[in-house]
């Protein structure tokens, strides 16, 4: 009996192993099936273009974008020695520096005051978030009028006050700032809405408890609101940073990269290089540089974020 039992046992474990293996393969297949749509879409719209861009960045191309001459890293060397690209990098970083903190601080302020339970606060919430519903194109047209050198409201107001007109979009000293202001305005709606959502999800008992503990408004703001909002803030900052680096619409509408390339942000510079100058090679090199910059910044942010963000 015993002697018979051992091989039988052995057989059973073998069978079990086989079934487990089969199940494992089946599970893997099932998983792949669910992943397939995104893998396919990502491959077509993300991985292939990325690979293609990297490939193109080592070539010069003709006007239709067909690679003609292999130049190795020359495109990269050229863009980094080009004062125009360096200027464009600088403008981009300045733009990010103006718009990301600008939009977030203003939105945070608006969200905090709109979070108070007051009569008619719904109206203000709608107003503050309304810019989200306005397309970049429409908003740019609106700002174009505000910035008009002679007939724009901004300059008319200045002239009433007796200040000299400012070339908002034509003066190289002002253009980037002007575009940043309009961008901040455009971004406030979205940022405000997300931050307000974050604020509203903070347990009100925390504030009540703090009230009883005798913490003042600003103490609560600093010690409760901001830390509790940090996951939302982190999300908003990440999205805003990436968006700021990818800004295109308002540049195309308001300044077309000018004056003196002061608002020639990276994405616009890529567009210009590829679709106006038909230099797809250097344009691809710039695109790769932009990709790496965003990648690095996002990585740094996540590293810092891990330490500073409190998830519930």
């Amino acid at each position: 009996m015993n002697q018979l039992a051992i091989p039988h046992d052995h057989l059973e474990t073998l069978e079990l192993k086989n079934t487990l293996k089969k199940q494992k393969i089946l599970r893997w297949l099932k998983g792949m099936l669910f992943l397939a749509p995104s893998i396919i879409l990502f491959s077509i719209f993300l991985f292939y273009p990325l690979a293609r861009s990297i490939y193109l960045s080592f070539f010069l191309t003709n006007n239709t974008g067909v690679p003609t001459v292999f130049v190795g890293f020359e495109n990269y060397i050229n863009i980094f020695t080009s004062p125009i690209f360096r200027n464009s990098l600088q403008s981009t970083f300045l733009f990010v520096l103006y718009t990301v903190p600008g939009a977030i601080i203003i939105s945070l302020f608006l969200a905090i005051i709109a979070n108070e339970k007051l009569k008619g606060i719904g109206f203000f919430r709608t107003m503050f978030s309304s810019t989200m519903g306005i397309s970049v194109a429409a908003a740019s047209v609106f700002w174009m009028f505000l910035f008009h050198p002679t007939m724009g409201w901004l300059n008319q107001i200045l002239s009433y006050v007796g200040v000299d007109a400012i070339g908002w979009l034509t003066d190289p000293k002002w253009a980037l700032l002007s575009v940043s202001i309009s961008t901040i305005w455009m971004n406030i709606g979205f940022t405000f809405l997300i931050l307000l959502g974050g604020l509203q999800s903070i347990d009100r008992y925390l504030y009540e408890s703090a009230d009883i503990d005798g913490a003042g408004y600003f103490y609560q703001l600093r010690r409760i609101t901001l830390p509790m909002l940090s996951p939302t803030l982190f999300f908003v900052i990440t999205v805003a940073l990436i968006n700021a680096f990818q800004t295109f619409g308002q540049i195309d509408m308001l300044t077309r990269g000018g004056p003196q390339n002061q608002t020639n942000l990276l994405v616009y510079s890529i567009y210009r290089e590829a679709f106006m100058n038909y230099q797809y090679g250097p344009a691809s090199a710039q695109a790769i540089v932009l990709f790496i910059i965003i990648l690095i910044i996002t990585l740094i942010q996540f590293k810092l974020g891990e330490r500073k963000v409190h998830y519930q």
Binding site: L206, E208, D211, I212, D213, A215, H310, Q312
Partner: protein, 370 residues
């Protein structure tokens, strides 16, 4: 100079919906006062009004003789424990406990002293650097408690602090809270929907229903002489057996089926209506032998609790439950002999629910206890 006085306190929203109606209440120093009532009765609202988190629509709230209606929470010198503890998830235990002291800028060494004292008292010393999410439910509860204690406010408010704990832990914490309250001589206002908590912890209890005070009294008082049907059925476990009754042939007829002989002369004096309602506690439907039995009742359900047995009978349209000490082997469908005595019956007005006459037996026992 009472620590807390409520004079005609009312709360309404939009001048229509009355949440609380003319609450009058005085709480003594060092008293453990329990507000109990079903959900929606307004007990939490009342507590939040005392804390200053909710505006008082009408009436006066006095602390130590001073009117405090207008004071913000931080100026009322009280502490509060919330149902969900309201711990700051981003702060560790120590920071949570000291949050209030830091906000009030209390000296560092004083902070340290109080922290040491409190955490030792509550057994939290080993968890000071942990975040709330790394703590068990009971530990979080203790942190919330510690935060309240560390403030050294003479008045402590608690809003259903034990409702998120399991039964065993809850029983343990009941004792602990009570112990700390006595030790620190805190004046405590404690809100719960659980009558067991109320009965076991409270020095005095206020039963609240639909924004109206039903009864205020010591636990024993509430148990022995519930002033109306609401209190009668709310306090006590299992709840009091209730049935409609009338008098016929010198007998009280309950639910048209159960007849109890009575000395009618003791009743007619105060009984105005022909129909009335009676109530009897489960422990007063007594087990007895065949010959002493007043009634033979059919068993419809049996619950064995180990040290006691709950037996349910059908009386006309209602179910009555008897609580017998010990383990009784009865099965559904059996007829068991019971003794129901006139002295244990409470009489209530069917229309208003008010107490007409409390059971005589209860008074006697109260006398014995004294």
């Amino acid at each position: 100079m009472k620590p807390v006085e409520l004079i005609n306190i009312s709360k309404s929203y939009d001048q229509e919906q009355h949440v609380l109606k003319e609450i009058n209440l005085t709480i003594e120093k060092g008293e453990f006062f329990v507000l109990v009532g079903p959900s929606g009765s307004g007990k939490s609202t009342l507590l939040r009004m005392i804390a200053g988190l909710e505006a008082i629509t009408d009436g006066k709230l006095k602390f130590n003789g001073k009117l405090v209606n207008h004071l913000p929470p931080k100026d009322r010198d009280l502490s509060m424990v919330f149902q969900n503890y309201a711990l700051y998830p981003h702060l560790n235990v120590e920071q949570n406990i000291l949050f209030g002291l830091r906000a009030k800028k209390i000296a560092e060494d004083e902070q340290k002293r109080r922290l040491m004292q409190t955490t030792e008292m509550l057994g939290l010393s080993d968890f000071l650097k942990r975040k709330p999410k790394e703590l068990s439910g009971g530990q979080r509860q203790r942190v919330a408690l510690a935060r309240s204690i560390v403030s050294e406010s003479p008045l402590c408010l608690m809003d259903e602090p034990l409702s998120n704990l399991d039964a065993k832990l809850r029983a343990q914490m009941r004792m602990e809270i009570k112990r700390i309250q006595k030790k620190l001589d805190l004046t405590m206002i404690y809100v719960t929907h659980d009558q067991v908590e109320a009965m076991t912890m409270g020095d005095r209890i206020m039963v609240l229903n639909d924004g109206v005070i039903q009864q205020v009294g010591e636990p024993i008082e509430l148990n022995n002489a519930p002033t109306n049907l609401f209190v009668a059925s709310f306090i006590g476990s299992p709840k009091m057996n209730i049935g409609s009754a009338y008098i016929e042939n010198h007998q009280i007829v309950i639910e048209d089926t159960l007849r109890i002989s009575a000395d009618i002369t003791t009743v007619t004096g105060w009984l105005k209506e022909r129909k009335f309602t009676v109530g009897i506690r489960a422990e007063h439907i007594k087990q007895t032998t065949e010959e002493h039995a007043t009634h033979q009742l059919e068993v419809v359900n049996v619950e064995q609790l180990g040290n006691e047995t709950l037996i349910t009978f059908e009386i006309g349209n209602v179910l009555w439950t008897a609580k017998w000490l010990g383990q009784w082997l009865v099965s559904v469908g059996d007829y068991v002999p019971v003794s129901i005595s006139m002295e244990n019956i409470h009489f209530y007005d069917t229309n208003t629910g008010d107490l007409l006459k409390a059971a005589e037996q209860e008074k006697e026992r109260e006398g014995i206890a004294l």
